[in-house]
Symmetry: C2
Subunit: 336 residues, 2 copies
């Protein structure tokens, strides 16, 4: 399986390490032989249609900060150049999310689909801005489009809702979908001020380079868009979400919540409306998890409410979700 990998940050590198450490067992157990033939980062590219060395990719990135120095000639190609000029089976998009124009991820995905590549995206931007049309484009081009890592990191929330609850009608759901704001709110519940809690989260590396993505609820809203489309068959994009972040949560609000045996959590919910907003959640509610944990509660017609809790992010966790998507693509292709 020939793979183009766009973006080589924490997730991309974790994926390469994971594939490297599991290559034998993936082939023996699933018949999967992934061959990464091109990688791009913001500074350049590495290409070898016979398959790049996974160890060398990691080494070069570590040493030079870019895979441009991998040692091949075509080291100046951008992600989009790679996709346009190299034949591959799967394009994996791991560049950073942005919610303005979702570039370069959006062009990567659209071009790859038009070139009949299957696409795995852990970049939420393109999905938040254009989920319905990207799914349509994938269908039109008869390619598989997977994005398990966009919600819940390594916790297979999308798959659970779609497959494990197959035959059930999910009526509504609500969840804590952003670990960073949950960490900040947890610290505030434990007595910190907003500023100190934010600084602590920044020191720990939990906050996105553009802090607004976390604090103003954009990251949670993007995940809500993906869930609403995927789980509830809604055709919505980011502007359809009524979104309020945590910047205005005061120590007073926190204290009031504690009096009610509650904690304030940034809840993304899909009921009649699609909302992201800080809410009081009873501490007895399974949804009320602390620290950087994510949690989501699906209410189904007959099986009651079911809550899934897990780490919502992390390089290796997200890489493991990409691997699951690869396995599923492998399986789907084998059927044809």
């Amino acid at each position: 399986m020939r793979i183009i990998l766009c973006g080589f940050g924490v997730v991309g590198q974790s994926l390469v390490k994971l594939l490297n450490s599991r290559s034998d067992d993936l082939y023996a157990k699933y018949g999967l032989k992934p061959r990464i033939i091109a990688v791009s980062d913001s500074k350049g590219s590495a290409v070898d249609t016979a398959g790049l060395s996974l160890e060398k990719l990691i080494e070069v990135k570590k040493k030079f900060g870019t895979i441009k120095n991998y040692g091949n000639i075509k080291n100046n190609m951008s992600g989009i150049d790679l996709i346009k000029n190299i034949d591959a089976d799967v394009m994996i998009e791991t560049t950073a999310s942005n919610y303005k124009d979702a570039e370069p991820g959006m062009s990567h995905i659209i071009t790859a689909m038009k070139r009949k590549m299957h696409v795995i995206s852990v970049n939420k931007g393109p999905l938040a801005l254009a989920f319905p049309s990207l799914v349509e484009l994938a269908t039109y081009n008869q390619v598989i489009f997977k994005f398990s890592g966009t919600v819940g990191g390594g916790t297979p929330i999308l798959d659970y809702a779609k497959n494990s609850l197959r035959g059930e009608r999910i009526m509504s759901f609500s969840g804590i979908l952003n670990g960073t704001t949950n960490y900040i709110l947890t610290n505030m519940t434990n007595g910190s001020s907003f500023d100190i809690a934010l600084k602590d989260a920044k020191d720990k590396g939990y906050v996105e380079a553009d802090e607004s993505l976390d604090l103003d609820g954009l990251d949670a809203a993007a995940k809500l868009v993906i869930l609403a489309n995927w789980v509830m068959d809604m055709k919505v994009t980011l502007p359809d979400i009524d979104c309020k972040g945590i910047r205005n949560v005061t120590t007073e609000d926190i204290k009031k919540a504690i009096k009610n045996n509650c904690s304030i959590k940034l809840i993304a919910s899909c009921d009649k409306e699609l909302k992201v907003q800080p809410r009081q959640v009873s501490i007895d509610d399974p949804l009320c998890v602390n620290g950087t944990l994510n949690a989501i509660a699906f209410t189904s017609e007959h099986s009651g409410t079911q809550t899934i809790i897990g780490k919502g992010a992390g390089g290796i966790e997200t890489a493991s979700s990409i691997l699951r998507d690869l396995l599923e693509i492998r399986q789907e292709i084998a059927k044809i």
Copy 2:
């Protein structure tokens, strides 16, 4: 799809109601047209190879306490008679669990498999005593064997571990698998004595007719057997479980736990050993759920620890898991 339904208690009746209420949408959405052609309860049977009336089954059971009075001639057949004499595609086993000889469920399942019927069991007894050999028998006879409802009621725990975490290695798991004992322990944590908490649970109808199944941990141990076989590929049965129930949990133990910011929970765990025993669980642990809730935490190699929480029992919830199994059988058959 012709179905023989063995056992017509709460779960069996809930299933019939569920199929009745969803018949149109099941056909439209999944191509599933279930036809129940025979039902047995402890007093007799109802048979109509053209398909029994679902409304009438419910009415007759309500009025007479048995489906024997359904109005057909063959009303004296036992479950095993039905399986031996009537051709069907699927046998659904919903008689009560027992952990001595697992009868009549064990004979129902074995006979149905030999007669090339696919089998869905929500009866834990046969699985607890003979999981490895039943799976082998199913493989040998080329029939599908499903048992989603045995663990977690409507919460698709088995499916989650097997499918949603596909491509992952689950290293260990632990969980609260019995809602009744969790209810009793929760009440004790809130100040009740064991006797009062047990009486309350009995009044609410949470306790099995044979209370030992709950209190001595047998129900939890049976579920642990099923999980260990299914999720971890172990070949174990009930005698392999080191099992201790909650009868010896004292008010002192509870108080000690509270001092440690913990609650006492009956934890079924699979690590190096297979154990059911009361343990202190930190109240900050997502596993520490209260009331009749069930919870299970899977620790995987790369995706971290993931906890699923849901109602562990209930007629309609368990019926919904049977429906999921039926849909999967339908899908598998369609492939061939």
